[in-house]
């Protein structure tokens, strides 16, 4: 069920909308640090398939998650037209590889509808609500569920 608190949507929130494989997604813009073009990433050995690798963000090592792969959507080879959304929630900084950033939406609590029940698949696990905008269906995703919760593994 769509819980407003889970979605981080307040009375009025700004969401960043973007496209992956011709589907529209969005999440709270407060998590976004910057948006930049695609640069080839350095592959990390033994990483999950949705981790593209790491890039140099002004001296910091930032891992890139291929959102298409993460959401089990078709994964094309990234080109210079792809966009990386650099996000940070509490801890680690992570880049999300998407096809294009399309819009910034201003929404209220009432605009968010619960996700319809469909046969469960990977991409639905992360979709926490739906917003209609300009006749498009925009899927709100749980960004914290996509990112790792704790940085590092040092014990």
């Amino acid at each position: 069920m769509a819980n407003p608190v889970e979605n981080n949507v307040d009375e009025h929130s700004e969401l960043i909308a973007f496209k992956i494989a011709d589907q529209d997604f969005c999440f709270n813009i407060m998590s976004v640090r910057e948006i930049r073009g695609w640069t080839p990433a350095t592959v990390i050995p033994h990483s999950p398939d949705y981790v593209r690798g790491v890039i140099n963000l002004r001296g910091a090592v930032v891992p890139i998650i291929d959102l298409a792969a993460r959401l089990s959507l078709p994964v094309p080879e990234p080109t210079s037209r792809n966009v990386i959304i650099i996000t940070q929630i509490d801890g680690p900084t992570v880049g999300l590889l998407v096809d294009a950033v399309s819009d910034i939406l201003s929404v209220g609590l009432d605009d968010v509808q619960p996700t319809p029940e469909v046969a469960s698949d990977e991409s639905n696990c992360f979709v926490t609500g739906i917003i209609t905008h300009d006749d498009r269906m925009i899927r709100m995703i749980d960004i914290a569920g996509i990112l790792p919760e704790v940085p590092g593994v040092t014990g």
């Binding site: 640069t39 080839p40 990433a41 350095t42 592959v43 990390i44 050995p45 033994h46 990483s47 999950p48 949705y50 981790v51 690798g53 790491v54 890039i55 140099n56 001296g59 910091a60 090592v61 930032v62 891992p63 680690p92 900084t93 992570v94 569920g145 996509i146 990112l147 790792p148 919760e149 704790v150 940085p151 590092g152 593994v153 040092t154 014990g155």
Partner: protein, 702 residues
């Protein structure tokens, strides 16, 4: 943060330095040093801590430090001799003082009974009554201030009487600043005269009631002293003249001391007005008193400044960027057709040298001797020994060895654990030791040294050594190994590093808190280090920690593997080579070894180990790096090509990602791209299991 809070932070930082001085002095004394100056420095350290603690009303510290000081005073005036039991009590007291300060800093409570028992122990030494109240309540205590121009001829002693009018304060002047300026001229003893202070009801907050008497011993002239007051001449009463013959310089305290005004006289203590005064006095004392405490009071140590660590870190980051930038520039120049020997090339060479020097200098700022860490460990060992009822002697070697500050900080936890383990599991009780013909006091030796670009820290005890029977049994019980597994003694010893292994049958307050040596091992690995163990039954165990000098840079060989550029630390590489087909031999199903000068060395295909590509079938066309790990085993790493050799700045992967097996860290190359730095030892030791290879954070997220 208020000024007071800032001062408090400074006080705690300085206390650390003072505690170090204290521990140092006690150690020298227990080594038999007879120097009176050592006793003095120990006394001064405790005294300064007491003074500072008084200023911040940390009563428990003041109470304890006061008794401690009394005992040290007895030592100073020879009414007490520094015998072994005395020193033991003094060391215990120093440990407790450190604990009290720590508690005060962290805002935690301490058990007063512990203080009381130690106070009683100290009082017993000097033969005084432990319950006797300190002579005077201490609102704040005099602090010693180091003033320039020590040791020079001091031919003039001036008496200055200074009484500001209210108008002085009205015009924005401040008596404290003037007095401080006077103190800068030489050795000054400042006394505040409060006799004119009215009852609180009659007190006009804008009035001026205080006057000061200053006895100044100075090389400067009378005029110089008068000049200090030049701008307030018309708003104060002032007399400056030679002091009475009865007060020559020799009668001043042996140290150059600016004594703050005496503690509030008892007569006015109950009136709130006294607080006004106390505040004024505190202002005189605190800002300057912070200056000398961390440094030396005998002037023999080089001048130091205190800098926030994050400023240095920022600088190190910038220098790191500079190194990368310089590399990029060099590449760029080469690409544009300038060849070696051009002016521009010479300039670039110069730039490289300079950059390297800057980097070395910045790194040197971060390097610190391990002494403070070792002292802390000594304290922990003594505490642990007390709790376990074992007598422990700590010996340290190479305390001057310098390591990066970050490494030192991160070493504290694992070392604490290892020391506690050594006391708890390693050393036997006195009875057992006596029965085994050993000295009843167990010894733990901490040593640090530099060895081929790395730091080696050893913790050895002369205890029972590892009980291999028991270790093996426990490992079998816990399902870590098969009951009939054939293990060498060294392999059994290494079982204690296995996750979930803990030999303590009961959970004592010392070790066995659920964390085991595996945590220690991981902590040290995360510093790019290794820990190994050597144990001799009946003789004791030695843990050896091998660490990189710094976490910030390393010399690396830039190589290509499976289309990716990776960096291999030069420190691990013995040689690079190409091999003929005849030197390869198969071993088992898909392992290969290579014969190098008569020795057989296993081949590891780095590209395949990291999963970049399938194993190659034409090893004779590839390049090999012969590497040796800290444990001494050799392997030949198969790579595709060697590009370059250069210094790289280490960037952690942990911040945003997690640890990766076989990868030590990352770095940024001249073209701005990230290259991974290999961890040859991890590649050599571990067949990387697919299910454990994900960094746990990302695996969980999936």
């Amino acid at each position: 943060m208020t000024t007071m809070d800032e001062l408090k932070v400074t006080f705690f930082q300085e206390s650390e330095g003072l505690l170090e001085e204290l521990a140092d002095g006690l150690e020298q004394m227990s080594d038999g040093a007879e120097d009176r100056e050592i006793v003095n420095s120990v006394f001064r350290a405790v005294h300064s801590i007491k003074g500072g603690a008084g200023a911040f009303s940390i009563d428990e510290v003041v109470r304890f430090a006061h008794r401690y000081e009394n005992t040290l005073d007895a030592l100073r005036n020879d009414s007490l001799t520094a015998t072994a039991p005395v020193l033991e009590a003094l060391m215990a007291a120093a440990d407790h003082l450190a604990a009290l300060l720590e508690a005060a800093r962290d805002g935690t409570e301490t058990e007063p009974s512990h203080s009381d028992s130690l106070i009683a122990r100290l009082a017993e030494l000097t033969g005084e009554d432990a319950d006797a109240a300190p002579e005077a309540p201490i609102d704040f205590a005099p602090m010693t201030i180091e003033i320039g121009g020590l040791g020079g001829p001091k031919d003039l002693t001036l008496a200055i009487w200074f009484r500001p009018h209210a108008a002085l304060y009205d015009t924005g002047n401040e008596a404290a600043f003037l007095l401080r300026e006077v103190a800068d001229l030489g050795d000054a003893e400042v006394r505040c005269d409060t006799t004119d202070l009215p009852e609180f009801e009659a007190l006009n907050p804008n009035g001026a009631y205080l006057s000061w008497n200053v006895t100044l011993t100075t090389e400067a002239s009378e005029t110089a002293a008068q000049e200090v007051f030049e701008f307030v001449e018309d708003v104060c009463d002032l007399t400056v003249g030679p002091a009475d013959a009865g007060a020559p310089a020799a009668s001043l305290p042996e140290l150059p001391v600016l004594t703050a005004p005496d503690p509030v006289p008892e007569a006015v203590e109950d009136t709130p007005a006294a607080e006004v005064e106390a505040e004024v006095e505190a202002e005189v004392v605190s800002p300057k008193s912070t200056a000398p405490a961390g440094g030396s009071q005998n002037g023999s140590v080089a001048a130091t400044i205190r800098v926030e660590l994050n400023r240095i870190d920022r600088m190190i980051n910038l220098v790191g960027e500079l190194v990368i930038n310089q590399a990029m520039l060099t590449q760029c120049v080469r690409r544009n057709g300038y060849s070696e020997g051009d002016d521009i090339d010479a300039g670039l060479d110069e730039l490289r040298t300079l950059t390297r020097q800057i980097q070395d200098s910045v790194m040197a700022i971060r390097a610190q001797p391990v002494k403070a860490l070792f002292q802390r460990m000594s304290r922990i060992a003594r505490e642990a020994g007390n709790e376990a009822g074992k007598s422990v002697r700590i010996a340290t070697e190479g305390a001057a060895t310098e390591i990066d500050k970050t490494v030192i900080e991160k070493l504290a936890d694992p070392l604490t654990h290892m020391i506690r383990n050594a006391v708890d599991h390693g050393l036997e009780t006195a009875e057992v030791r006596a029965a085994g013909d050993k000295e009843t006091v167990g010894t733990i030796t901490l040593s640090a040294s530099h060895m081929s670009g790395r730091v080696v820290i050893e913790i050895s005890d002369n205890g029972a050594g590892i009980n291999r029977e028991r270790v093996r049994q426990i490992a079998v019980d816990k399902g870590l190994i098969a009951a009939d597994a054939p293990l060498t003694p060294a392999e059994i010893d290494n079982l204690i590093f296995a996750p979930g292994f803990s030999t303590a049958t009961t959970v004592s307050s010392l070790s066995g808190r659920g964390v085991g040596m595996d945590v220690v091992k991981r902590a040290i690995q995360s510093l790019g280090g290794r820990v190994t163990i050597a144990s001799e039954p009946g003789q004791g165990s030695t843990f050896t920690i091998n660490l990189p000098l710094t976490l910030a840079v390393l010399d690396g060989m830039v190589v290509e593997v499976g289309g990716q550029t990776v960096v291999v630390p030069i420190s691990a590489i013995i040689e690079t080579m190409r091999l003929d087909a005849g030197q390869f031999f198969g071993l088992g199903t898909d392992s290969h070894v290579v014969r190098i000068r008569g020795n057989y060395v296993p081949i590891l295909d780095v590209g395949a180990v990291l999963g970049y590509r399938a194993p190659v079938d034409d090893p004779e066309n590839r390049v090999f790096l012969l590497v040796e790990t800290a444990e001494g085993s050799r392997s030949a790493l198969l790579i595709d090509a060697i590009h370059d050799q250069r210094q790289v700045v280490i960037k952690g992967l942990e911040t945003n990602y997690g640890q990766v097996d076989g990868v030590a860290a990352a770095t940024i190359l001249g073209d701005g791209r990230i290259a991974l730095i290999l961890d040859p030892a991890a590649i050599v030791t571990g067949p990387v299991a697919a299910d454990t290879a994900f960094p746990s954070t990302f695996a969980e997220a999936g």
